[in-house]
Structures are given as structure tokens and as C-alpha cells.
Symmetry: C2
Subunit: 203 residues, 2 copies
DNA sequence: CTTGTGTGTTGACAATGTCAACATCTCCTC
DNA sequence: GAGGAGATGTTGACATTGTCAACACACAAG
């Protein structure tokens, strides 16, 4: 079913090829990993010629950047939908982070991991910063003596856990605990992520 | 300068092509990132024909896996060279982790990040497990009530911080603090990584 | 010296990213 | 409406890449 169908009733213009390409690419990313994504196959899936994508993206990297940006927008929405009760906002956001990585491992690896140059893709940069701003807002206003470092530490922990999960570095039962959210709960309990009022005893 | 030089005094056999290829690949990885590494360019650098690598590695992925395995062995050596005084062993290992990521960002991304299939590269799997075993040994024997989760949390934090650094997700001054090791010190102080005796107040 | 096995080379093929030239559609202006 | 202009899609071409097959050279064992 990957052969080219003429489809005579299809108009010359695709309608929203840009969107279709992003969707096709996202699909390919989850199937084969970000590295194996090919412009031409995305075009095939979208039902256009191998060069049509160049009318919407100047380069392969630009297409990947667009997909990554879309991912960051999704992540931000997830953050905003979460973060309800102020007391365990931090934990909730962490759960959302891990849940996102588990649900879209390929996308997660594209967004981080694969060395996309943010400088040359302002849209991506913007989307990423928007997502992280939500995170920062929710984590900064705690009573910690050095809130910046505390927030960064929490971010690093959750970020690292997500990476470990995505890269299959955890054994089976840990993986399941991570998926259910229990693992992060336990870790948060140990290191005072959910109850950081006790944690500020610093030299 | 990419044309083939006859180089009459060079013998037919390279001597240790396998090693030379790994070295050339490591160089390319740091220069262009793991995704852009090409078998043929590695061969060019090593001064052999484009197909010579296939006598030592069945596939491109196998070469990358060999480089990654070498990276894990380096990391393990760094771990073992560190981890001196038992009290702040955990912090020292974390510093080593971050230092490694900073020193070889491309290699770090190859070892994690780029979805190398460990199942099909037993050498890589072995090297990775060996490195992590050192980490586990040093972090497990603490007085925490759930040492497994505590160790995992610490690992996740350091791993995440390394990723954030490698992916340039931190601004300039934070990056510098991370490079000097101060950042991790501060975070460890906040979350009780270096003094975990107080942190075990868990249901 | 012969011979065989490991190591390197040459040649070929399909797939890919990208450029250039051409075709067709859509819409704005008269 | 007519017509041209700019946007969108297509065809063709090229260099590069991973990989396979066939061949060539080297060195050690007999």
C-alpha cells in the first residue's frame, strides 16, 4: 500500500500538505525512530511527489523541527491541563512529563536527544521555551531558599527519569512502576519533591 | 583532498584498522553528531577503501555500537577512579557523570539518546551494565529505607542534568556552574544527595 | 612452494537529500 | 469574465550513503 496511487479525483493541490507532512513524519518517528525518518517516505505517505515537501520546508531538518515544535506545544498543553492543586503541582507536572515520554518515545527523543539546532529554528525555540515557562512558573514559587536550583534539580530528575524510560534502561517492573506513576511518587517522597518544606536545610 | 592517495610505502594491511575506525568515528561523532556519521568518511579518515570497514563491522550500527561500548568503558574507568571517600561517593560519581557528558557530548548522545539496540550488540550491553554496576554499588549501600528507589532517583537526577547540559538547555551561567561542578553540589545539598541520612522520612 | 583464510579493493545498486526546470492551480486585478 | 502572477506540485538529475558481490593481495601452515 505504499505504491503511488493516481487517485484521479484528488485535486492538484493537497489542501493542507504542510499539516499532512508533519503528521506523517510524526507517525514515522514513532515507527522507526527520528534518525530513520526520510523526507521522501513522508511525501509518499502524504501522497505527493518526492519534492513537494520542499514547498513547505526548506530542508529535512526544518520538517523535523516543525514536528518537534508541535511536540512541545502538546507537552505544554499537558502541563497546563495538569498543575491543578498548588500543593503537589510539582509532582503532577513530573508525572505529566514522564507520561508524555512514555506515550511518544520517538517524539520525546526528537525533542531532546537528537541534536536539532534551536538557533536556526525559531518556531521550535519558541515552543520549547513556552513549555518550560509553564514548568518554571509552577515550580519556582516554593518556599525553598534557592528556588532556582531547586526547580532545576526537580526538572533534571524528571527529565532524566523520562530519558531512562525512553531508552529502555529500566528493567520490566521498574518500567511498569514508572508507567503507573508510582515510581516517581516514591522517588519524590524520598527526595522531598512533593513536600519540599523540609528540604531546605542547606549549609 | 578526498581523492584516494596511493601512498606507496603504506602496506596493504592497515595494522589495526578496527581500532583506527573506532577512533575516526569517535572523532566524527564529536564533530558532526552521531546522526551524521558515515561509514565511508570514517574509512576515508582511516585511509582505506569505502568497503574495508565491512571486514570488521557487519553494519554501520555495529561500528557505532562499538564506539558506544568504548565510551561506557571509559565512563566506568572514570567512575572507578572517582568514588574515593565513602561519605560523598554519590556526589563524586555524579560529578564524574556530568563531567563525562561535558567532555564528550557527542559520545554521550550516542551512548544514550540515539536508539542503539542493545539486544543486538552484546558487547555494548555488557559495557553499559559494567559501568552501571559500579554506580549501583556505590549508591546502594546507604542507610535509606528504600535504597533502590533512592539510587534510581539520584541516577535520574544526574542523568537528566547531563542531558540538559549536552542539549544546551541551560543558559550560560548555569552551564558554567555545571561545568565547575558547583551546580550539582548545590542541587545535591538541597535534595540531600550528599547527606541522605535525613532524607529517609517516608511513609 | 602451495594453498587457504583473513583483510582490503573495485564495481554496482537502490535509497536519500537537494537543486533546477517545468507544470498547474488560485486568486487578484482589470 | 480575462489574464497574469505567485504559490504549490511534478519530473529529472546529481552526489552521497549503506550494503552486496566479485576480485586481489598478504601472510601463515602444511
Amino acid at each position: 500500500m505504499s505504491t503511488h496511487k493516481p487517485e484521479p479525483n484528488k485535486p492538484f493541490h493537497h489542501g493542507d500538505l504542510r499539516h499532512a507532512l508533519i503528521e506523517a513524519t510524526a507517525e514515522l518517528i514513532e515507527r522507526d525512530g527520528p534518525a530513520s525518518v526520510s523526507l521522501r517516505e513522508a511525501a509518499r505517505i502524504a501522497g505527493v511527489s518526492h519534492n513537494a515537501p520542499y514547498r513547505h520546508f526548506p530542508t529535512r531538518e526544518a520538517l523535523l523541527a516543525a514536528v518537534a515544535a508541535h511536540g512541545f506545544r502538546q507537552l505544554r498543553l499537558a502541563f497546563e491541563a495538569s498543575a491543578v492543586t498548588p500543593e503537589n503541582r510539582m509532582l503532577a507536572l513530573g508525572q505529566e512529563y514522564v507520561r508524555f515520554a512514555l506515550a511518544h518515545p520517538g517524539l520525546f527523543r526528537l525533542m531532546f536527544g537528537s541534536g536539532l539546532d534551536r538557533q536556526s529554528h525559531p518556531d521550535l525555540e519558541q515552543a520549547a521555551q513556552d513549555a518550560f515557562r509553564v514548568l518554571q512558573h509552577a515550580t519556582l514559587d516554593r518556599g525553598s531558599p534557592s528556588p532556582r536550583d531547586a526547580a532545576l534539580g526537580a526538572w533534571a530528575l524528571v527529565h532524566g527519569l523520562s530519558h531512562l524510560i525512553v531508552d529502555n534502561q529500566l528493567n520490566q517492573d521498574l518500567q511498569e512502576d514508572a508507567a503507573s506513576g508510582r515510581l516517581l511518587e516514591r522517588i519524590a517522597a524520598i527526595y522531598g519533591l512533593s513536600t519540599p518544606r523540609e528540604a531546605g536545610s542547606v549549609p
